[in-house]
């Protein structure tokens, strides 16, 4: 983490889990400003900034907020999604432990904008130490009149609570998260109704990712245009990219969303160990289809990556060098989604298990050439046929690896070894 540029990174590097450090950097001035605006003005500003959901879905944040019914007779809730579980993603952990007060300030502004007086931060259960830091910062905010009956001395009340999950990837899906928060197993709900209309405790609820909310204070402070101009026509600002796998400097890098994958990997994450070539790059968490090395000059941004048939997702970039066995990687990936399938929808519950079994069989050298087609068939059977996006998340890598690296899997099925380039000639000759 050598970068001192950026919006959140300078806070992370100056220990903004401590109130004084955040205040020294102008902390909570944006919340004061927001509380002197009308809620609608705040929503308009966030909308104009092109801030999009950085948990992975990329939905425009301001537009989401505007879905909350005005003058709802029921209480409105803000729920912060800190379940961070998509493999390859670890950025929110840095925010909640090092830029904690930026998140709290973002929560204040968002809650005020949607008319909420209670916010819950749902944090994955494994983040035990991280939750302790978060609790401490919240307490510090209460002790200094930043949270509570009179937020920053204004006539606005807000309580913020930390709620720990207990180990379930599915709870990163917003409706499963709400079920979990209500004390149930995390089974996703049918939509509609969307949470903005009927969410937590059947009340209007906005669920936002940690990183998304942490950018809000800076949009209010510096203006929507400042944030929008850093990005593309439809995606504003910067984001925290998580780079892992075969790179020299794995870590979090905050960069404008127009930065290309190649720049992120080579200029920021230090390139590939041993100067090896890249075989594949997963651009946005393990559910996003991988790209080939010749495709890396694409901005790591929602719309650009969608055009390539993959996703910017959670910003989790996983780099694999030329010696990686992609059958192994797809098996590990599929095993994850099988393990995490909640079991509610048959296509996902059964399909992920079938794919997992077939891939393991191939890995043990007992694959058959028809397995490759079978995998594709099963994945297509899951795609779009489940209540929540976990089904798609399991199917997309299978379809993606087969689309771009089919020869790797055919080679394993036919010759029980990784593709070494000769196979193509062999196939052409036959």
């Amino acid at each position: 983490m050598a970068e001192t540029q950026g919006i959140l990174m300078p806070l992370i590097q100056s220990e903004c889990q401590i109130l004084k450090n955040y205040r020294d950097r102008g902390g909570y001035e944006a919340a004061k400003k927001a509380l002197s605006m009308t809620p609608d003005e705040v929503i308009q500003e966030v909308q104009a900034s092109n801030l999009r959901g950085l948990g992975g879905a990329g939905f425009p944040t301001g537009r989401k907020w505007a879905f909350v019914p005005k003058n709802s007779p029921k209480p409105v809730y803000l729920v912060v999604n800190c379940d961070e579980s998509e493999p390859g993603t670890f950025k929110d952990k840095y925010i909640i432990t090092k830029a904690t007060h930026a998140l709290i300030e973002g929560i204040i502004i968002a809650s005020y904008a949607i008319g909420a007086h209670t916010a819950y931060i749902y944090i994955r259960g494994e983040y035990v130490r991280q939750a302790e830091v978060l609790e401490q910062a919240i307490q510090e905010a209460y002790d200094n009149g930043i949270l509570g009956k009179k937020v920053l001395g204004k006539d606005y009340a807000l309580d913020v609570y930390v709620h720990r999950g207990a180990g379930a990837y599915i709870c990163g899906e917003e409706t499963a998260l709400l079920e979990s928060l209500e004390g149930k197993k995390g089974w996703p709900r049918m939509k509609p109704p969307f949470p903005a209309i009927e969410g937590l405790f059947r009340c209007p609820t906005i669920v936002n990712n940690v990183e998304t909310l942490s950018y809000v204070p800076f949009i209010i402070k510096n203006g929507a245009r400042w944030f929008a101009e850093m990005g593309t026509e439809r995606s504003g600002g910067m984001r925290l990219y998580c780079v892992s796998g075969h790179v020299n400097k794995p870590g979090v890098y905050e960069l404008p969303v127009t930065t290309t994958l190649r720049e992120i990997i080579y200029e920021h994450a230090g390139g590939v160990p041993g100067n090896k070539k890249i075989k594949a790059v997963v651009p946005g968490g393990s559910s996003s289809p991988p790209l080939r090395p010749e495709e890396l000059d694409v901005p790591a941004e929602f719309d650009a990556l969608m055009k390539l048939g993959t996703m910017a997702g959670s910003g989790g970039i996983i780099v694999m060098d030329e010696d990686t066995c992609l059958l192994e990687i797809l098996t590990v990936t599929t095993h994850f989604y099988h393990h995490e399938s909640c079991g509610q929808c048959t296509p996902c519950r059964e399909g992920t298990g079938w794919m997992d079994k077939i891939l393991h069989r191939m890995l043990h050298g007992e694959g058959r050439i028809e397995d490759v087609d079978h995998l594709e068939e099963i994945a297509n059977g899951i795609m779009g046929n489940t209540i929540c996006p976990l089904g798609d998340a399991a199917a997309m890598p299978v379809l993606g690896y087969l689309k771009r690296f089919r020869e790797e899997f055919e080679s394993h099925a036919l010759y029980k070894k990784c593709f070494d380039g000769e196979f193509a000639e062999l196939k052409a000759a036959s």
Binding site: G88, F90, E126, A166, G167, G183, K185, F201, H339
Partner: protein, 157 residues
């Protein structure tokens, strides 16, 4: 009912209820409090929690079995949860797990006879920047090497 909780835990549970408009929402936090005190969730805790949150005991069991962090039987004093998902796999998680299994002479999913060590292979813990990594009780440790594992075990023996 033989299930007992310390006064400290009971006080925590009282505080937990204040955060939610519905009692059932306190289920997960209460289970965390119980596991913290007992090291796992004893079966007798199910009717106890059920009464507190005013739900049938089966709803509590359903929750306990759904979430991977809730243990239904005692585990070792030191719980090695080693990540084996993509980024850790790419950086040698398999070797780390094998080394740990050899050193402790138990397989992943098992607890040592002296109840001191448990190894569990787990899915992504959100710390791919320190891959390969593990969670040892409440703490994240990585990047792991065989030497680092040896060092840790030396301290715990």
């Amino acid at each position: 009912m033989s299930f007992q909780l310390s006064d400290e835990s009971k006080k925590q549970i009282e505080e937990i209820f204040k955060r939610y408009p519905h009692k059932r929402a306190a289920t997960l936090p209460i289970l965390h409090v119980i596991q913290k005190e007992h090291g796992y969730i004893p079966e007798e805790a199910e009717p106890f929690v059920a009464e507190l949150v005013e739900e049938p005991p089966v709803k509590i069991r359903e929750v306990i079995l759904f979430y991977t962090m809730f243990q239904t039987k005692p585990i070792g004093k030191y719980h090695f949860q080693v990540c084996h998902t993509v980024s850790c796999w790419l950086r040698g998680a398999k070797e780390i797990i094998e080394h740990l299994e050899n050193r402790l002479n138990i397989k992943s999913g098992e607890t040592s006879d002296d109840q001191k060590f448990t190894i569990t292979e787990v899915e992504c813990l959100g710390a791919c920047e320190i891959a390969p990594m593990m969670q040892l009780n409440d703490d994240y440790i990585g990047p792991l090497t065989r030497e680092k594992i040896d060092e840790i075990l030396e301290k715990l023996q």
